[in-house]
Amino acid sequence: MKNPLFAVSLGLTLLISSSTLMAHHSPSAIFDMKKKISLKGTVTKVDWVNPHIVMFMDAKGDDGNVVNWKFESNPPRWFTKVGVNRADFAAAIGQTVTVEIVSAIDGSKYGYLQKITFANGNQISLEEGQKEEIRP
């Protein structure tokens, strides 16, 4: 996808319901699943790493000062398999985007990226899929 504007959203219901949804750790061990927030800012960096991709974004805080947020999301392999590559995220570097996240319980500027919306309205979001029985 050449167009950089897209959004990543992981449905809140998906996150709430889900010790089996995240591959690496349960999101409830880090994130306040009821604290879904929306942020607007500039993407500064995308790390295409396991076990979660990582994206950094500068956003203005309530006091007007710019703070750097760090977001993790699903594993790179997951994104690749559903047709999203690093370039899709990296195209957003330097652009203003809107993201939806659930934020860390510890209050740090850290979140699980659920949705990203680009300036042209394109989006990528993570949504709840059909339930599957998985045996570890």
Partner: protein
């Protein structure tokens, strides 16, 4: 020296495989249409090809909106499913291994604290057989090569099938020393010489360096790969444990290098909620 030769061996194997006339899916389609599995020149079922990625990944769909057009893609977890029905050829399986009493508390502790104690959580090697079915198999007359995509690193296993015994000069490792043979139409891989710091399954399944893993792989008439592993460890287990069989569909996605793994969430974990790895 042997290590230096390995890339050449793999390259030769890859070239050999690349010269094969049919892709996995094409072979499967042809063989399935004929009601039988595809075989190599020596008469064994041909396991070569790319197989579905079998490591657990998040459940869910991805939705894209591009220029107003909405598309939704589901992540296929079918290779993680246990078979809904009995798989012909599969051994009886049990939900969990039976540990000797003196190890039960430790296993329970490791399982309860797996987000802090599981080596795989922190990007370490899963080892055999926890890594599961290979992403690519290259079946040659005297050896079979398993290639993996794993977040800990993309490993390989070269499995001699010419009747030689286990190596006596190999260092213990996470993936061990393997030899393979055919039991009728089932490829049986026996692996020993393990380090003792991996788990053979989630839930704290520790083992000793005396562990012996037996993996069985065979093809269904429909062209799927079946993978089933048994673990023997007379030091920690009261009896061998056989896991359920997994049915792995063919998949022609190219095998790819996995991005580096760096888990830095450990210090952020505020409770022991479980992850799900494999």
């Amino acid at each position: 020296m042997k290590l230096h030769l390995l890339p050449a061996v793999l390259l030769a194997a890859a070239v050999s495989y690349a010269q094969a006339p049919a892709t996995t899916a094409a072979k499967v389609k042809t063989a399935a249409a004929a009601g039988k599995v595809h075989r190599t020149a020596d008469g064994h079922p041909d396991l070569s090809g790319n197989w579905t990625f079998g490591i657990d990944l998040p459940h869910g769909d991805l939705q894209k909106i591009v220029n107003g057009k909405v598309t939704r893609t589901h992540y296929d977890q079918s290779a993680r499913h246990h078979a809904s029905n009995d798989v012909p050829g599969a051994l009886p399986w049990e939900p969990a291994p039976s540990y000797k009493p003196e190890f039960q508390e430790k296993v329970k502790y490791l399982a309860a604290n797996e987000s802090k104690t599981d080596p795989v959580f922190y990007c370490d090697k899963p080892g055999t057989p926890r890594i599961g079915s290979p992403r690519k198999i290259i079946q040659l007359p005297k050896e079979t090569i398993f290639l993996y995509e794993d977040i800990s690193g993309d490993t390989f296993r070269v499995i001699p099938t010419d009747g030689r015994p286990h190596r006596t000069d190999a260092n213990p490792s996470a993936y061990g020393d393997s030899i393979g043979h055919w039991d009728k139409d089932t490829f049986v891989v026996e692996t020993t010489n393990f380090v003792d710091d991996t788990w053979f399954g989630e839930n704290g399944y520790l083992h000793s360096d005396k562990m012996r893993a037996i993996e069985r792989l065979w093809l269904t008439p429909e062209g799927n790969l079946v993978y089933q592993a048994t673990v023997e460890d007379p030091v920690v287990l009261t009896k061998p444990w056989t896991n359920f069989a997994r049915v792995i569909p063919p998949n022609n996605d190219p095998i790819e290098e996995s991005p580096k793994c760096k888990e830095d969430d450990g210090t952020r974990l505020l409770n022991l909620d479980h992850h799900l790895q494999r």
